[in-house]
Symmetry: C2
Subunit: 235 residues, 2 copies
């Protein structure tokens, strides 16, 4: 696998030249008050690896990133956001100009309905936090996608991975879904490696072995190149 990937790198140094790729990364933060927020365990590593791979392969890359502790690859256009709503706006604005969009960010499904303007003080008893739904960025992208655009989604699951992945692929009109069971060692958030299954529109499912996220990023672009050459879109 290692040799194959290195060969892939050497033999296709610029196979995405002339293409615009937008990658989202990181985990959004949804404020409860000026100090507290709801977030998730996304490290941003998968998204940053995808942005770096796209750059290496000649694409013009926009990285829309929620907070991470990573440095963006030199050469990307970085758009820093915090909340799902901000990510929604940043992505929607840029979507029409893109050839390929990969949503690797872990976007909060819910946000606090009311954001307190001051730090909430401790009080007696329990506290109820009402959450409302965030916009569904991937669904909106799938709706607006044109036939020459490729849309790739990620799914982090803890149960019923295949069922959820097939549903998400079709409900959101994706060209490819990369799903991982985050409960498996080596596939979790924060890890440098991942273990994923690829779900295709034609019903195929492909299990990849544990691999470095950088290597997986190139593998995903190999698949995208293949999909685009055979006409992946909206079929």
């Amino acid at each position: 696998i290692i040799l194959e990937s290195i060969e892939g790198l050497l033999s296709s140094p610029a196979d995405f030249k002339g293409l615009k790729v937008l990658v989202t990364a990181g985990g959004t933060r949804e404020p409860i008050d000026p100090v507290r927020y709801i977030s998730n365990r996304s490290s941003g590593k998968m998204g940053y690896a995808l942005a770096a791979a796209a750059l290496q392969r000649g694409a013009k890359v926009t990285l829309v990133s929620a907070p991470t502790s990573l440095s963006p690859p030199a050469g990307v256009e970085l758009v820093s956001v915090e909340t799902a709503q901000q990510m929604y706006e940043a992505v929607m604005e840029r979507f029409p100009a893109q050839d390929i969009v990969i949503k690797a960010a872990a976007v909060a499904d819910y946000r606090p309905k009311i954001v307190a303007s001051h730090k909430i003080k401790k009080q007696e008893g329990t506290l109820l936090l009402e959450l409302e739904k965030n916009p569904d960025i991937l669904y909106e992208l799938g709706q607006r996608k044109k036939s020459d655009q490729t849309l790739v989604g990620f799914a982090a699951e803890t149960e019923e991975l295949e069922k959820n992945a097939h549903y998400k692929l079709h409900a959101k009109n994706l060209d490819l879904l990369v799903a991982n069971d985050v409960t498996r060692p080596g596939a979790g958030f924060g890890s440098d490696t991942n273990i994923v299954k690829l779900f295709y529109r034609d019903g195929r499912m492909q299990s990849l072995p544990l691999m470095d996220k950088k290597m997986l990023a190139h593998r995903i672009f190999d698949v995208i190149r293949e999909l685009r050459s055979t006409g992946n879109s909206n079929s």
Copy 2:
């Protein structure tokens, strides 16, 4: 100020030799499900700077740290925790052996009452998250403190800083409270600088100018040394 602090460093290289210092740092994470959590904007920089300063001044240092993106100073005993409950247990177990405890961590006051064992799927409408109180580590430490132990707390406030600080100092039986208004530029979470007010048991309040967190850490140990030399405890 810079010269003064450098002199302080040079002239007192080991004024905490023989003392045990425990510092807490970072922002705790309170899981909602395997993927999502509630956290806060603490970067851990203040706590890590305090641990480094204590080491430089000769102390034996234990750093109980919630997740941060920082590297612990070489030479500390690092105890990594995630939740407030884990921090409570780690600190309580080690408290009797300490001479000085500085609680710089941003500990969640509340945690989700029920932690879902699987990732919560999106559903129609809003969602109610019930939160219950975490143990109050600082209060428990104040209760158990012996006369030769020094207990220092932090308070991050967004309003009524002085009133809240005076209350916290006495309610939690602290020897010193370091309070900052996190809404001020240069005093916020994540910043390399801080602007704080020091509150003493005798009612004194001292406003410090904007300073680097590393410098502030040494300033706090200067104050602790002074308090311990004049007998700060439980008076």
